[in-house]
Symmetry: C2
Subunit: 192 residues, 2 copies
């Protein structure tokens, strides 16, 4: 039963390196070095680099899904749940300043590679988009729930990008406050 453990360790290491250095810039040697196995052994667990990417995306999907599920089952109101989403920027502040958003930067990279994994990365956006849409729907914003979801997703992405470009400034905290204020001002009435 040692194999699954190694496989898991590889995914964890690859997940980290893909985030910190990017997918293409990360080599098998890099991952193998961290895991402490030989490059040859790698191919016992993953046939190609794309397979590791797929596994990393699945891992990220599972992680995020678990997080959203927890918020959903915690007895929070929909608004409080959306606030939790916004506060991800604060919880992961140090990493975002250093490497940007793990979802946004991965998508951006794969998009340029015209890589098939682009679809996988988009599923990460979809996960949040659909979940956010549901929350806005519950608030009563039935007609523009998706627009609001996309709006808050975009704001988060932009904040992550600029926080990465200007990591030593108070910008990130300021913007989170603005987003929470925006959320607070949301009323249970549709635009139309």
């Amino acid at each position: 039963m040692a194999a699954p453990e190694t496989r898991d360790t590889i995914i964890t290491a690859a997940d980290r390196l893909f985030y910190e250095r990017g997918f293409e810039h990360t080599s098998f040697a890099d991952v193998a070095g961290i895991v402490g196995i030989s490059r040859g052994n790698f191919y016992y667990h993953f046939k190609t680099k794309d397979q590791i990417l797929d596994a990393v995306i699945e891992r990220r999907l599972a992680d995020r899904r678990a997080m959203l599920d927890q918020w959903t089952s915690e007895g929070l109101t929909p608004k409080q749940r959306i606030a939790s989403f916004i506060r991800i920027l604060l919880v992961n502040e140090a990493k975002i300043r250093a490497h940007g958003c793990p979802i946004g930067t991965l998508f951006s990279e794969l998009s340029k590679l015209d890589h098939s994994g682009e679809d996988g990365a988009r599923r990460l956006f979809d996960l949040f988009r659909i979940w956010l849409r549901q929350q806005f729907h519950k608030i009563g914003r039935r007609h523009d729930a998706d627009d609001l979801a996309m709006h808050i997703l975009a704001r988060s992405q932009g904040v992550a990008t600029l926080a990465n470009a200007y990591p030593d400034e108070a910008f990130l905290e300021n913007e989170v406050s603005l987003m929470l204020a925006w959320l607070d001002a949301i009323r249970a009435t549709d635009d139309t």
Copy 2:
């Protein structure tokens, strides 16, 4: 006098490919193929790949600077100038849907490579940030001009990222409308 032309053509081709495929994923052979020269000839014009990157960044800086200078000298009000900035998203809509923001995606990539060019890419953000700050300052927002500049920069970045992820949706136009409405509501009074 043929040399400068070739050099210029190389920069133009590299600029396009770095945007469409990313810096690292673009090879000398790719650029040479478009320009129509041999790989060897390349090194007469640029000693290293980093030198091409520097030239591309300088080119982008000059292009954007010229655009901002034009708006500044066109007799527009500061608000109208900021609106012009926001409408970049519409002017370049097709490209943004296909490849994201040329500045944001370049920065994101170089950031992960811990590349020295990261500083160059940040200068592109700085160019817009300082210019936007000046416009908000002229409106009368002396105390939070920089915050407002960063806010609109971040919004633009986020919109570009998500428009790239969901290119076939009306999202981009919706968000531009929201940003213009936000701008319209700005009053000449400081927060403090």
